[in-house]
């Protein structure tokens, strides 16, 4: 099977970066990409809800009035905690480093492995 030809994905021309550190521009672009995917997911859920209603499976009013029981509340809280832990991982990792004092300057490790005399 021959491979499908691919459209060019990048526009010819040097891309401008607006912040003093281009990483900020890149981070922002990733954030908006993520926001876009959340929006896509929400639209898809909206389609599911409307189709369910149309096909008489359940109504959107039932969703609005849904009362999670004890077990559902617990599972959701756990899921949210995991979610937040993943998203804010970089901040927590830094705190863990302070706590365990395993954030000594990296140069020390470099020095250690490159040492020629014992």
């Amino acid at each position: 099977m021959t491979e499908q030809p691919r459209l060019k994905r990048k526009a010819k021309g040097e891309r401008p970066y607006f912040f003093s550190d281009p990483s900020i521009d890149k981070l922002l672009a990733m954030l908006m990409g993520l926001a876009g995917e959340v929006s896509v997911l929400r639209d898809r859920l909206d389609t599911v809800e409307r189709l369910a209603e149309q096909n008489k499976l359940f109504t959107r009013a039932e969703i609005e009035n849904y009362q999670p029981d004890e077990e559902a509340l617990k599972e959701r809280a756990e899921r949210r905690a995991v979610f937040l832990g993943e998203v804010t991982r970089i901040i927590e990792a830094e705190l863990e480093g302070m706590q365990d004092e395993d954030d000594a300057p990296y140069s020390q490790a470099l020095e250690l492995v490159n040492r020629t005399e014992s």
Partner: protein, 395 residues
């Protein structure tokens, strides 16, 4: 047919996005609307609130042109955030518009080839050189530009562009992206009553979205349209045929076409001039003069020249020059149209520069009413520049 600005009218050759592809495209539009309504206005606020006062403290006077404003605004955190977001929205727009096209790539090419019925034509010239100003960067950041082909009988750049224009304009050009052409047609009819062109030429027509209103406005006219990019023209031809509009497309450079002297009554273009160059724009206007019959009319739709704008607004409208792959945008907005026209042979007395109201009335109420980068068509008016060729018609 829909008549809303919420979604684009479907036609036979427009790619059909799948559920999530459509949601992705609609997000980009919402993102752009949000930038226009809530983030863009912050630029003026930041300028008045902190950037200008700091400039005055330092220099004892206010900045008096767009270049001085640019030098200080590019350091402002809000302007930087706005710019980074606007550039990102542009890249997301192309990416989201590409997805269904990539998926249907060959099917679209096949479909375009077999779409006919209105009696229009397509004439390609594989030997035509794509001008350097068009190859230097991919204009308005469309990956591959208008001319890159990746498959036989490729129409992909046209299919991507047709969808992206709707998202870019946030529906403000109407469900058929027709507002520039439609507004120019309405202006001509109102200001030149009795003008009834027999032959019309649209230069730099892309997918023919602005050409179609001329065919509709003067149904008895013979309508021609040229562009340098073959894949755009293949798509434009199929699009016009599917809409039932008879238009003759040919692959030609507007600087020098193969039409005979004095063979058109009306020569038009829509946002073509700022995509050319200092040398090319002069050749394009001279070509208009050559092609027009005595008594004929030339009309070019553009965004408004900087001379009519406040320095801050000119600075904001100039955003595209560096940030959206529009290298000639800035210079073209400073062009002296009277000088340009008279050097091309037009009588300077006949040169006009007007703001024509948008023919697409539905969007009016929701427009932001300002000209600003990334809010194309937001002003609710189109700038028209043109001239008349002297002499009596019908000779």
């Amino acid at each position: 047919m829909q008549t809303s600005e919420l979604e684009q009218n479907r036609h036979a050759i427009l790619p059909e996005p799948k559920h999530d592809e459509l949601a992705r495209q609609q997000f980009v539009r919402s993102f752009k609307e949000h930038l226009v309504a809530h983030v863009h206005p912050g630029n003026r606020l930041a300028y008045e609130h902190r950037v200008k006062p700091a400039f005055v403290r330092e220099n004892g006077q206010e900045p008096d042109n767009r270049f001085e404003i640019r030098d200080v605004m590019t350091l402002d955190p809000h302007y930087r955030m706005f710019s980074a977001l606007l550039r990102t929205s542009q890249e997301m727009m192309w990416s989201a518009s590409q997805q269904p096209v990539q998926r249907e790539l060959q099917a679209l090419a096949e479909k375009a080839k077999s779409t006919q019925g209105a009696g229009g034509s397509l004439r390609l010239d594989p030997g035509l050189e794509i001008p350097r100003y068009h190859r230097a960067v991919d204009i308005h950041c469309q990956p591959g530009g208008y001319h890159t082909e990746v498959t036989a009988d490729d129409v992909a750049p046209g299919a991507v562009y047709d969808r992206a224009v709707f998202i870019y304009a946030m529906g403000q050009m109407g469900p058929d992206n027709a507002d520039m052409g439609a507004s120019a047609v309405a202006w001509i009819k109102e200001n030149h009553p009795g003008f009834n062109p027999a032959r019309i030429l649209d230069m730099g027509c892309a997918v023919g979205h602005s050409t179609v209103p001329y065919a509709q406005g003067w149904p008895d006219a013979e309508v021609h349209a040229v562009d340098v990019a073959a894949p755009m023209l293949r798509y434009a031809h199929a699009r016009a045929e599917s809409l039932g509009e008879k238009i003759h497309f040919s692959q030609q450079n507007a600087e020098q076409t193969d039409f005979v002297d004095a063979s058109f009554d009306l020569v038009v273009s829509h946002i073509l001039l700022h995509e050319t160059s200092e040398k090319a724009i002069r050749r394009v206007i001279a070509e208009c003069h050559r092609l027009l019959r005595p008594g004929g009319l030339m009309v070019h739709a553009e965004t408004p020249p900087y001379k009519n704008l406040e320095a801050f607004d000119a600075f904001m409208l100039d955003w595209d020059t560096r940030n959206n792959n529009e290298p000639f945008w800035g210079r073209s907005h400073d062009i002296d149209y009277v000088e340009l026209s008279s050097k091309a042979g037009f009588d300077p007395e006949t040169v006009f520069e007007v703001m024509a109201p948008s023919a697409y009335q539905i969007a009016q109420a929701r427009r932001s009413k300002v000209f600003q980068g990334g809010d194309f068509g937001g002003g609710g008016l189109w700038f028209l520049y043109g001239a008349e060729k002297q002499g009596e018609p019908g000779r």
